[in-house]
């Protein structure tokens, strides 16, 4: 099996999908990211990341119902897969373990 890697922005999007739990779709992800990052984010960048994450198997999606908003287009809700969760866990563990190795003295 190919070992998938995760880019920085992809990781953020993946985290955000996981955080939004079942309510995550393009625009809400975009807005939450902008709020956290305190800067403008491209919607197309979000979509590209979502597409790549889905291709890698970290995300799955379903369509919501039709509403009068959005020109009658359905929302596509994303949720994290087990694989995605494991990836996030691995990333987190990796970072924490390295973080812990930082000698305290450095910031004296």
């Amino acid at each position: 099996m190919i070992q998938h890697t995760l880019g920085e922005f992809e990781e953020l999007v993946l985290l955000m999908v996981a955080a939004l739990h079942d309510e995550a779709y393009g625009v809400i992800i975009l807005e939450s990211l902008e709020e956290k990052l305190k800067k403008k984010v491209n919607i197309s960048a979000v979509h590209v990341a979502l597409k790549r994450l889905s291709d890698k198997g970290f995300l799955k999606s379903r369509y919501g119902g039709i509403t009068a908003d959005r020109g009658g287009r359905r929302k596509r809700y994303y949720s994290i897969t087990a694989l995605g969760k494991r990836m996030l866990d691995n990333q987190y563990a990796l970072r924490t373990s390295i973080y812990k190795q930082i000698p305290k003295i450095s910031f004296g």
Binding site: G26, V27, R70
Partner: protein, 861 residues
Amino acid sequence: MKAYPPKNAVKFLRWFCMEDYVEEIEGDLTEIFEKEYEISSRKANWKFSWRVIKYFRPEFIRSFKSNHQINHQTMLRHNFLLTFRNFKRYKSSFLINLIGLSTGLACAFLIYLWVSDELSVDQFNKNGSRLFRAMEHRVRATGIWTSPTTPGPLAEALVSDMPEVEYAIPTSWPQPTTLSLNDKNITALGRFAGKDFFNMFTYELIAGDASQVLKDENSVVISDVLARKLFNTTENVVGKSFDYQHESQFMISGIFKSMPVNASDQFEFVGSFEKYKKGQDWLLSWANTGTQTLVLLKPGINVDEFNKKIADYIKVKTKNEITYRTLFLKGYADNYLYGNYEDGVLTGGRITYVRLFSIIALFILLIACINFMNLSTARASRRVKEVGIKKAIGAARKALVVQYLSESMLMSSLSLFVATFIVYISLAQFNIITGKHLIFELDSNRVLLFLGVTVFTGLVAGSYPALYLSGFNPANVLKGRLSSSFGELMARKGLVVFQFAISILFIVSVLVVYKQIEFVQSTNLGYNKNNLIYFNLQGALRDVKIQETMIEEMKRIPGVENASSTNHNMTGHNGGTYGVEWPGKDPEDKTEFERMTVNYDLIETLGMEIAQGRSFSRAFSTDSSAIIFNQKGIDFMGMTDPIGKVVKLWGKDRHIIGVVKDFHYESLHENFKPVFLIVEPNNTYRIMARITAGKEKETLGNVELLFKKTNPGFTFEYNFLDTVYQSQYENEQRVAVLSKYFAGLAILISCLGLFGLAAFTAERRLKEIGIRKVLGSTEIGIVYLLSSDFTKIVFVAIIIALPVSYFVARYWLNGFAFKVQLQAWYFITAGILAMVIAWLTVGVQAIRAARVNPTQCLKNE
């Protein structure tokens, strides 16, 4: 208010984006757009479009490749099979298309053959681009007159004065002459030319050296055909001699191969110009014109600049004596197609007809293509189910386009065969009409061209139906909902209107051309051209006494009503002079009077009418110094009571004894011009005689006996004046005959189309007709119902075509100084004719449809 994102951006997104993502992306973008719209509508619009463009990246662009492979061979076979089944099933449309397209193609090919032949005239010279003819613009009171005649010494002077000139030669116009060898007399067309003639032109010499053959003044170069006529061979002929006009001997110095038929100058022998000059002193003066001068410039010389240099050459050479003649060079080969000058400006010539017929060919082909389009789209309703099912099982639009295009291509290829056959069998007739020697031979260029035209025709004819049929929405057509939109209907009707407008234009043209020709033939020329013969004075007859005796004896032959001699052939400008002086003449005036030197009785022989005074008479001995003018001449001089007044001609006094009514001596393209007549039997070139109608053969036999007796060794060659008169209108006659045929064809093809459409409409409305009949409609009512639509279409065509044809007709007639008046009935006739033809065509279909038995057509549903 609800906000909508920019339409085009959405369209673009939907077009390029992968299907899986369109929904999500469009939705999200719209949501953002709606939020931003509240803040600023303009910015939101702009941002939306910008964002859409950002999605134009590999991740989201869909694949444009068709995802299933087509087996091309099978598809092709399938297409052909369907095409043939369609042809078989709808035989009438098939035949209509075949006849229409093949006659259209045949017509285009014939015209192509003619046009390419016209364009090839005089193109056979290798030095063609450097070969020129010297011409002159001459200023006259009536405007500038452009003439190909130049003074005799011009060629020699050009060679010695102008370094740009490689060769320049004087030459005479080809004339029929009598040649004799032992007892054999034959008539041959001959000309005289300067010694470099064969260096300039690409006439292939079978024997002799190009620079040597015309060096000796008694040498002559003959054509291979003439050599065979004289000696029955072309071998060992060089060095032999024959008699020319029974007065001098020529020695053959070379033989040239007869020139191609598409050479405008045709002649059988060339003599030396030195010989021609002997005894013709007028050729030595710059004041007289009468020779052609041909010039070969050195390579790289710009003719326009050279023309500027020689513009006042005549003035310089005559030491400012002659100031009204401007010399210029014109491409030798150009003269054939571009030969008409008006007031010193080139106005075209035969090229007009070349262009005209090219346009006609295109139009006829177009009409034929329109038929195909119309019938195919009209028939579309029969085939919508086919299209619907094909599309539903997944046929791509491209495949359908290919199918219909291959159908029309097959149609045009079939038409090509039929057209080739038509061209093959009609070429002989076409040659007679056009006076050409066209041969239908296929070289690779022509094959390519014909194939090209066929493919083009197929594409044009097939494009509209192919795009139209393949564009159906399968869901709609399978439900049986096919509403032809207003636009389509208009397009179909528009095409028929176009066809009929062209046909009406043709009908009017035919009417006008025929009326004008009838007018030309029946117009009173000011003399009676019927039963007039003339023959040239040659040999012994050039002696005035023998000539006078001949005339006297001719008059005694029963059947000869009158005879005389003249310098003028009555069919064109023969020669003029501005040497007429009268009291009050403007010394600067250079208007030429046409000069007629005649014998006594000529006015009576021709049947000219005397307006004032009297004709020449032997009873008055002073008539040798008398002069007669035509009315135009008198008006021009501004005389009120001319009889007895004295004018000077070339410095000598002449008293006016009479005035003849204006008569036409040029074609009716030209207006009347001033003419004078004087009695000078020794300056006449031909005998004219009027013979009694009905006894021509006998009379001519007797005249011939007399001719042979007085002029032994010469053949009696005569012309009827009216035949020569007709030949002035050769071009018009050809246009008349050709436009008659083309009009016929255009109408035929248009009617075929209309016939097809009417048949189709009748078929589609069969049920309606059945119901109408059941409810009590009469047959007439149904015929009216079916034909009223077409009547409207043809009526619109008439309204469009009549003004156009009026302008075209007026333009053509403007070339004539004397012309028929355009009368309303020409146009009314054309309109009614078109309408009647259309009614007949539609009527046949309408009546057939109206007589249908309602039970038959309502039975099955």
